[in-house]
Amino acid sequence: MTKIHGQGALVTGASRGLGRAVSEALALLGARVAMVAREVGPLEDAVATLRGRGLDVHAIAADIGDKDAIHRIAGQAHGLVGEIGIVVHNASTLGPTPLRLLLDTECEDLERVLAVNLVGPFRLTKVLAGAMALRGAGMIVHVSSDAAVEAYPRWGAYSISKAAQDHLSRILAAELDGTGVTIVAVDPGEMDTAMHAAAIPEADRATLQRPAEIAAKLVAMIERGDWKTGTRVKVGG
């Protein structure tokens, strides 16, 4: 069971798109939210806007793909919002766009995608999940994609990272089974975001879901607390 009110939460990739919408939705239900993003300007704008609405949100400027940033993120977040009961691993990168065939993908670009989309969430969970497990409660959400399951040409680096993150989620769930920590992956479907525009510039935006709608569904699932640990759920269409 996860009651959001009064909890500390951490959301990565929080300056725009789904991350920002999830931060807002969590804060609207009474969470204190640490919003993590790489770009200081958009992050501070997002935090200022949400604070203007009376929400308890905080900015942490950091790159989740940077090994040295992980303990700083955790320390700042704990200093700002207290114990953290909810983590949403939302930050991710496509790698270079336009998207390339895998055989045209530079090894360094694949490594960078894995650092942000896979190793970053792993490192951050390693630092945050221990306290959750000892307290007997916590919720860790990995934002996935149907690219984790389907083999779309040109989505290689991103797909590989998301498939691995799905399995990271399952193995963590298996190892922490019985501790009270719930670990899930969620596929939000196609949303009207900057990332989607970078990947598929020709898409008809009118057909895409709004991040706020997906965030509302995702946060409602966290609030209900009936998510089975280790599962992968489609939230959007």
């Binding site: 935090v47 942490i60 200093g79 114990e83 953290i84 221990g130 497990a133 000892l134 307290r135």
Partner: protein, 330 residues
């Protein structure tokens, strides 16, 4: 000062030990076992209590002045100790006092600017301009953990955190918990030994000023969750023992009597102290005469502890803060 008064054949080593390779002296039996055998050294129904305070990046530099935070950040107020020229390679005891800095002086510690508002010798209180987000961003951008003089390289922040750290309240690592890997924690649970948490603001081990050091540890904040208070009561009612991971846990539990809530621990442990809540402690190793050794005297007679340290020395165990362990049960 008393350390030299006691001479023994094989002093403790002082090198770092990987957290998976830590060994533990079991003082009651005189055995040395791998730390991962902790579950087998306790009994079903015992309760292990850990300090989940994360270690602050509490060492900040402004030119030739070093600030070491002595406790949690309270709003925009920093409390700590100022040291003069030198770096961590010089023992704190040998560091000079900082140059005269008047109340009202602003020091720039990298990205963090702070104004001195109170001072007692090396001990200072400073106020940071700017809101919480900026303060925490600057603190983590510019601070490093307090270092150990006997190390060649500086320890990064991740090297001084336990596997279950939460709020950054500790001036120095609550290091007794460092060898508690998830393998050990899972093993404790499987053996019917519960684990509970509290948060205790472990302070500085030294200020470099004998007058201030004589009063250490200073009063330290703690918070004990309801669940932990319930677990302690249930354990004691069922005849189990409460085992503290580290002396900071002993201080918090003894100061609170095991009750839930926030408070300030002021008590000082010594051989004359009789614990009310805690039955045993896991601690780092310290030579007879060191203050940390003396406070283990609350749990076992001095001769027993001395024999244990002699054995540890003979078997090559390390007294480094990131070294080996001992288990002392009353």
């Amino acid at each position: 000062m008393g350390a030299l008064a006691y001479a023994y054949d094989a002093p403790l080593r002082s090198d770092e030990v990987a957290r998976h390779d830590v060994r533990m002296v079991v003082v009651a039996s005189g055995e040395v076992v791998p730390f991962r055998e902790l579950p087998a050294q306790l009994r079903r129904g015992d309760l292990v209590v850990v300090n989940d305070a994360a270690t602050l990046p509490g060492s900040l530099r402004a030119g030739d002045v070093e600030l070491r935070l002595s406790g949690p950040v309270e709003g925009n107020v920093l409390c700590g100790v100022l040291l003069g020229a030198g770096d961590f390679h010089t023992r704190t005891e040998d560091r000079p006092a900082p140059r005269e800095l008047a109340i009202g002086t602003t020091l720039r510690f990298g990205a963090l600017a702070a104004r001195i508002v109170a001072r007692d010798g090396r001990r200072v209180e400073l106020v940071v301009d700017g809101d919480g987000d900026a303060l925490w961003q600057a603190l983590y951008a510019s601070g490093a953990p307090v270092q150990y003089a006997h190390r060649r390289d500086a320890l990064p922040l991740d090297a001084v955190q336990t596997a279950y750290a939460t709020r950054p309240w500790a001036a120095e690592m609550p290091s007794a918990g460092r060898p508690l890997t998830w393998d050990v924690i899972v093993g404790l649970r499987r053996a019917g030994i519960a684990i509970a948490t509290l948060t205790h603001a472990a302070g500085l081990s030294s200020t470099g000023d004998a007058r201030l050091d004589a009063a250490l540890p200073w009063p330290e904040r703690y918070e004990i969750p309801e669940a932990t208070a319930r677990a302690i009561a249930a354990t004691r009612a069922a005849g189990g023992r409460v085992i503290a991971i580290g002396t900071t846990v002993v201080r918090a539990l003894e100061a609170s009597g095991g009750a839930a809530g926030a408070g300030i621990a002021r008590l000082r442990l010594d051989p004359a102290y009789r614990t009310r809540v805690v039955d045993g402690v896991v601690s780092g190793l310290h030579a007879p005469g060191e203050s940390h050794f003396e406070l283990l005297g609350a749990f076992a007679p001095r001769e027993t502890l001395v024999r244990a340290i002699e054995l540890a020395g003979a078997l090559g165990l390390s007294s480094h803060e990131l070294g080996d362990s001992c288990l002392v049960v009353r």
